[in-house]
C-alpha cells in the first residue's frame, strides 16, 4: 500500500502540470471561438428542443438570448486568465464551473456530444490543483522545484481519461455483448452515420463506402476499438505503456474521423493524453528557442 501511495505521489515538475493548464486553456479559447457561430444560430435553440442535461437541469427553461450569447464570451474571457495562470486559485474554479455550465447548456438541445466531456472534467480538476506554479502570471518567472503536489494531479487527470475509455467499452459490452466485436454493429453505425450526414447535406467520409464493403476490416476495427477502450488502464502502469496506449487511442479517433467525419478535437490534438506523457517538453523547447532568438540580436549588437 505504501509503495502504491509513493508511486501515486511521486514528484513531477511544476512545468508538466502547467503545460497541461496552458494547453487546455488555449484549446478552450480557440474551441469556443470556432463554436461562436453555433451560439448565434437562433434556429438551433428552439425552446421545444430544450432537453437540459447535468447542471443545466437547475434551469426552468432556456436562457434569454442575451444571456445565451454571453455564456461563451464570458467563458472565453475566463479561459484567457486560466491560460495565463492569473489568480489561479480564485479564477480557475470560476473558469471550470463556467465551462461546465456553458458546454452543458450546449449539450442540452437533444444531442449530447461526447467530444467535450474530457475537456470539462480535466478543467474541473486543474481548477483545484496548483497548475499555475510555473509558466504563469502568478509564478512571475519563479521556478518551482519538482514536488509531489504536481505529480498526483497529472495521475488524477490520467485516471479520468482512462475511466472514460473503459466506460465506452463497457457500454458496448452491456448493449451488444462480446458479439459487438464481430464488427456488424460498427459497420451499421458507420453506414448510418454517413447516410445521415449525406441526407442532411453535410460532408461525409469519402472512404466509408469502401470500408463498408469489407466485413473483415470492420471485424478487425471492432476488436481494435475494444482493446483500446477496455485496455486503457494499462496506461496507468508504465510510462512506455502510457505512450503506446495514447498513440493507439489517438489512432482510434483518427479512424473515427476518417470513417465518420466525427471530430474529437480534444483527443485528436492529443490533449486528452497530455497528462500521460512528458508534455512540458515541447513547450520548454519553444520557450528556450524564443529566448535564444531574443539573445541573438543582443549578442550581435555587442
Amino acid at each position: 500500500m505504501r509503495r502504491l501511495l509513493d508511486a501515486w505521489f511521486a514528484p513531477a515538475p511544476a512545468e508538466r502540470l502547467a503545460a497541461v493548464r496552458l494547453m487546455l486553456g488555449a484549446f478552450t479559447l480557440v474551441y469556443l471561438a470556432t463554436q461562436l457561430p453555433l451560439w448565434f444560430a437562433d434556429a438551433q435553440f428552439h425552446a421545444g428542443d430544450f432537453r437540459p442535461l447535468g447542471v443545466v437541469r437547475l434551469l426552468d427553461g432556456p436562457l434569454p438570448r442575451g444571456l445565451r450569447l454571453a455564456l461563451p464570451l464570458v467563458t472565453m474571457a475566463l479561459a484567457v486568465t486560466f491560460t495565463l495562470g492569473l489568480a489561479h486559485r480564485w479564477l480557475a474554479p470560476v473558469f471550470a464551473l463556467t465551462l461546465l455550465f456553458t458546454l452543458s447548456y450546449r449539450n442540452s438541445w437533444g444531442m449530447p456530444f461526447h467530444t467535450e466531456n474530457l475537456l470539462v472534467l480535466h478543467a474541473l480538476v486543474l481548477a483545484v490543483v496548483p497548475a499555475a506554479d510555473a509558466w504563469s502570471v502568478d509564478a512571475r518567472g519563479r521556478a518551482a522545484p519538482a514536488a509531489e503536489r504536481y505529480g498526483w494531479p497529472l495521475r488524477a487527470l490520467a485516471v479520468i481519461t482512462v475511466i472514460a475509455y473503459v466506460l465506452a467499452g463497457i457500454a458496448k459490452l452491456r448493449l451488444g455483448g462480446w458479439a459487438w466485436t464481430d464488427g456488424d454493429a460498427l459497420r451499421e453505425q458507420i453506414a448510418i452515420d454517413n447516410l445521415r450526414k449525406h441526407l442532411m447535406g453535410a460532408p461525409m467520409s469519402p472512404i466509408a463506402a469502401t470500408f463498408l464493403e469489407h466485413t473483415w476490416l470492420m471485424h478487425a476495427m471492432a476488436i481494435g476499438t475494444m482493446v483500446v477502450e477496455l485496455g486503457a488502464p494499462i496506461a496507468l502502469v508504465h510510462r512506455r505503456a502510457a505512450l503506446a496506449w495514447s498513440v493507439a487511442a489517438w489512432g482510434f479517433h483518427v479512424g473515427v474521423l476518417a470513417l465518420m467525419a466525427i471530430v474529437f478535437p480534444y483527443q485528436l490534438i492529443g490533449l486528452a493524453y497530455a497528462p500521460l506523457v512528458r508534455c512540458e517538453r515541447p513547450i520548454a523547447w519553444l520557450i528556450a528557442r524564443g529566448r535564444r532568438a531574443r539573445l541573438k540580436p543582443a549578442a550581435a549588437a555587442e
Binding site: W8, F9, L38, A41, Q44, H46, G48, D49, G54, L100, N107, S108, W109, G110, P112, F113, H114, N117, V120, L121, V125, V128, V129, E148, R149, W152, P153, R155, A156, V159, I160, I163, A164, L167, A168, I170, A171, K172, R174, L175, G176, W180, D184, A185, R187, E188, Q189, A191, I192, N194, L195, R196, H198, L199, M200, G201, A202, A208, L212, E213
Partner: protein, 150 residues
Amino acid sequence: MNATRWYGLVVTLIAAIAVAWPLTRHPLAGDSFPLSTYPMFATRRKDARLYLEYVIATGPAGARRHVPPELVASPEVMQAIVSVHAAVARGDATGLCQRVAARLAPRGGYRGFDEVQVIAGNHRAIDWFVRGERGTERTLARCPIVRGAP
C-alpha cells in the same frame, strides 16, 4: 500522511468515483454531460435501417440538393436532425419548410431551385452504400422558394 497526500487522495477519489458513477445507470437512458455512459457506436441497428426527416431543395428537370444543416437549424448535424424531427413531431413541417425556403431565397447557390420539401426517408444504410439501393421517401411538406422582384 501529510496534508498534500490527503488532499490528493480526496480529489482523486471524488473525480474517479464521479466519472465512473454512470456505470450505475443504463448506458442509453442514463447518458448525461459531462458524466457520460459513452454509449456512442454501441448499439446494433438492425439492417442498418435509418428513418430520418430531412430537407431538400428541388428544381426543374429533377434537380435535387440536400439542404445543409446550418441552413435548416444548426451547423451541428445531430442537433439539426433533432430540430427537424421535433418540428415534424409538433406538426410544424410546413413552418420549417417555409423558414428554410426563406433562407435559401437570397442565396446564389440555390438560384436553380424553386421548391423546398421536407422528406421522411426510410433507407437501409449499408444497402445504400454497398449496393446503391435507395429506400422509400414520403413528402411531408413542400413550399416554393419565393424570391423578391429584381
